[in-house]
Amino acid sequence: MSAASYAAESGVVLGIVFVLLAQQFGYLALASLTTGILDIVIGAVIGGVLFGLIGWALGHRYLRNHPPDVTPPG
């Protein structure tokens, strides 16, 4: 699993959690079933894309700081 997909997976969960937490702290009202589910789906998509990009960047940084141990043949 790549760093991007790994982080995107967590980002989907974080997006859903963020929407539910926003409702719990009074910034959002999930009164209607349709708009409530729509808000959750939007949060999941945004979280997946955003944290997928973050994971991609983190993966590149990790490989830059910890290059694989490649020994030239011969």
Partner: protein, 250 residues
């Protein structure tokens, strides 16, 4: 770690399922579900009403940003005032038999909590009032946040005479101590940690380190070294075998 992540995912699904199923569980008095529409319903012609939530007119809380803030453990007094209004010049006032007032808290389209004033067996009137004492009940230990509340007045035959939607912001004890927000915060912390460690996944996906090729002349691998003979006991001479050189020989 993957097992732990799977456990967290199962926790998220369980929390989401709980949030979806919870509204269907009747936690408070009241039977029938509340209207699920978020739009402001219309009232019957010639009928108007006002509802006061601890003295505040609920018509001023028509949006989540202007929600009425209440502490979850506090009891709320809700006053309903209704009156018949003339529909035209010279028209007599309509007479209504209002027998029930209902308050319903809506979440994901379902009535999370409903409360009814006990039915009043009265005659037809041109004005009247109800008062209701309302509290959140057991939900205060589970949920917080902003909710749509619908106040409704019913006629004796069950007709919806008037209703109004408004928003309340339910503050759990100490602003946080409810099950769902605590669970969500814990899940968010674990997911943030997982994202912070996601860079290492790139190393797992990177090509494996190249090993130097084996020697060009493949030689048969030598046999494993023979195990040393067992040490003889002290004071005994080890048995000699044919062809072997005794110790101390030439």
């Amino acid at each position: 770690m993957p097992g732990f992540r799977a456990t967290v995912r199962v926790g998220v699904l369980a929390a989401a399922a709980l949030l979806m199923v919870l509204p269907a569980i009747p936690l408070a008095a009241g039977a029938s579900p509340a209207p699920t529409s978020g739009a402001r319903p219309t009232s019957a012609p010639g009928f108007s009403a006002n509802v006061y939530w601890n003295g505040a007119d609920v018509s001023s809380a028509g949006s989540p940003s202007s929600a009425i803030t209440i502490s979850s453990y506090a009891s709320v007094t809700v006053l309903y005032f209704w009156n018949s209004t003339a529909t035209g010049a010279g028209e007599p006032l309509h007479l209504y038999n209002v027998t029930d007032a209902r308050l319903a808290m809506t979440y994901f389209g379902y009535a999370l909590s409903t409360r009814d004033v006990p039915p009043v067996l009265g005659g037809t009137e041109t004005r009247g009032s109800f008062d209701m004492s309302w509290n959140v009940g057991a939900i205060q230990y589970v949920l917080g946040g902003t909710y749509l509340v619908t106040a409704t007045l019913f006629a004796a035959n069950g007709t919806n005479l008037w209703s109004e939607n408004f928003y309340v912001h339910l503050v759990p004890p100490y602003s946080l101590l409810a099950i769902v927000p605590i669970l969500l915060i814990i899940i968010a912390i674990f997911e943030v940690i997982a994202i912070a460690r996601s860079g290492r996944q790139a190393a797992l996906k990177a090509p494996p380190s190249a090993k130097p090729p084996p020697p060009s002349s493949p030689a048969p691998s030598p046999p494993p070294p023979a195990a040393p003979p067992p040490t003889p006991p002290t004071g005994e001479t080890p048995p000699t075998s044919p062809g072997s050189t005794p110790p101390g020989g030439p």
